[in-house]
Amino acid sequence: MANLESSNLEFSATEIMTVAASRLLQDGTVCFVGIGLPSTAANLARLTHAPDVVLIYESGPIGAKPTVLPLSIGDGDLSLTADTVVSTPEIFRYWLQGGRIDVGFLGAAQIDRFANINTTVIGPYDNPKVRLPGAGGAPEIAAQAKEVFIVLKQNKKAFVEKLPFITSAGFLDGGDAREKAGITGGGPTAVITDLGILTPDPVTRELTLTSIHPGVTVEQVREATGWDVKISPDLKVTEIPDADALAALRDLQARTAKAHGQSTSSEG
């Protein structure tokens, strides 16, 4: 019923990406949240189907419940609404490395077919074409969270055949390469884009399109991917955002824009 009603809704590609990412977060999950799209999706989950999701930010807040989206990783609202605020070393030592994070929720500048991430440089490291911000918390989040969700927009600049630099490990060369390297966390289980959702093949660990957003064609996904992307034989169509989630997302973004005086879709 809800679907029939909400099928009349209009939504943007970013909105379905955000809502789809949000849906993957189960209630009660302990989530290490990157700023930008991951933070939007995680907070949307908290405000809709997962009120008891625990949001941890690398700046120190544990159990943050921000009323507007943080522009930066250390906004005051995160501290004021948290169950507790610890030091940044403690976040990385006792909570992330300690093995207490269910889901690491990351963005990325570039990704490859094995869900390795680059946020460091485009071009050679010593003579970069574009110097990106760098690793931040991602290498250890990607390695140590029990599973990792990655959210980014899909195009050929971002989805590349070969990364110039692996900042954070996905499945490395695929297969059991990740385990062989001694990485303990489970690794990426979903890459959510504005076109669909890719999940790693259980054996080869190659990203496979398993869900496509309504109105998007497989051809569009191929066009936006820098390698010959695998398509699941059981390809599903992503459930469209329901009216409640969409309203909650728009409400959150309106509150945020009002508080910050700008859009908050940029990452950083």
Partner: protein, 291 residues
């Protein structure tokens, strides 16, 4: 015992050319006033350390004070690139900037190791990342009990650490709260330290287990209300998100950047003067718009 002293004197006597200097603060409590004073005094050849070099280091790097940066994430949070930082790395302007690049986990542990007087930090980290290929200071050691391979990186031991905090008392004991980042570790890891504070009070009224830096563990305390601007001090001020956005076009071109720095930093006498000039500029703009 911390000396309670004007910021100008603290920077002049405690920061030397060639020093390794950490200005810390994780979004919250970033010591911008002290950063300006370092630029104003024309300090040179600094090795800068900071987990999240943002506007404060974009300015110091762009003004040519630094020869090296040790960091883990360099960007304008929520806005985009640091154009002066990128120009230094990509084009070597105003001169070459060496970089030593880590992850946040690595940097945070390196500060802890520094505060603990250990020569290196031990962590599970960097596995599968290309960072160890480009940073010879990321090595691996074996656990003498289990044989597991763990990452090792050198401790951060700055010559001077600079932070901003909410309160000091008249003896120079310092209290900070809210998002603490790595500031306590950064101060304790350093040989010397400068702490700018929002206010100096008779009694800190610190909760029992709060983050206090005792006077005898600090070199200088400087009273600089609003000294974190455009960052914020919880309980005292809000982050000026607009300034972070406005920085993007200023930093994008060398000329505009240099003119802005001259007008707002080099030609101002202190942080209060900077804010006055900044406000005049904003008011000028407002006037122009309404004309």
């Amino acid at each position: 015992m911390a000396l309670i002293t004007p910021l100008r004197e603290a920077v002049s006597s405690l920061v030397q050319d060639g020093d390794t200097v950490a200005l810390e603060g994780f979004t919250h409590l970033i010591p911008h006033a002290a950063g300006h004073e370092i630029i104003r005094q024309g300090k040179k050849d600094l090795t800068l350390v900071r987990m999240t070099p943002d506007l404060i280091y974009d300015q110091i790097i762009g003004m040519g004070c630094a020869r090296k940066l040790i960091f883990s994430w360099g960007g304008n949070p929520g806005v985009g690139s640091l154009h002066r930082f990128r120009d230094a790395v990509e084009q070597g302007w105003p001169h070459k900037l060496d970089i030593e690049e880590h992850s946040h986990a690595g940097m945070a542990n390196a500060y802890v190791a520094g505060a603990s007087n250990l020569p290196f930090a031990l962590l599970r980290g960097y596995t599968g990342s290309d960072l160890p290929k480009v940073n010879p200071n990321i090595r691996f050691v074996e656990c003498p009990f289990t044989g597991e391979k763990l990452a090792a990186i050198p401790s951060v031991r700055p010559d001077v650490t600079v932070i901003h905090a909410q309160k000091a008392d008249r003896r120079g004991n310092v209290l900070l709260w809210g998002i603490l980042g790595v500031q306590k570790e950064a101060v304790l890891a350093a040989k010397r330290s400068i702490i700018t504070v929002e206010e100096i009070v008779d009694d800190l009224e610190a909760p029992t287990n709060s983050c206090v830096l005792p006077s005898w563990a600090v070199s200088a305390v400087c009273h600089v209300p609003g000294g974190a601007y455009p960052s914020y001090a919880q309980g005292y001020s809000e982050r000026d998100n607009k300034f972070y956005k406005d920085w993007d076009p200023i930093a994008r071109t060398r000329d505009v950047f240099q003119a802005w720095m001259k007008r707002h930093v080099l030609d101002t006498v202190d942080f209060a003067d900077f804010k006055r000039v900044l406000n005049d500029g904003v008011n000028d703009g407002a006037k122009r718009e309404t004309v």
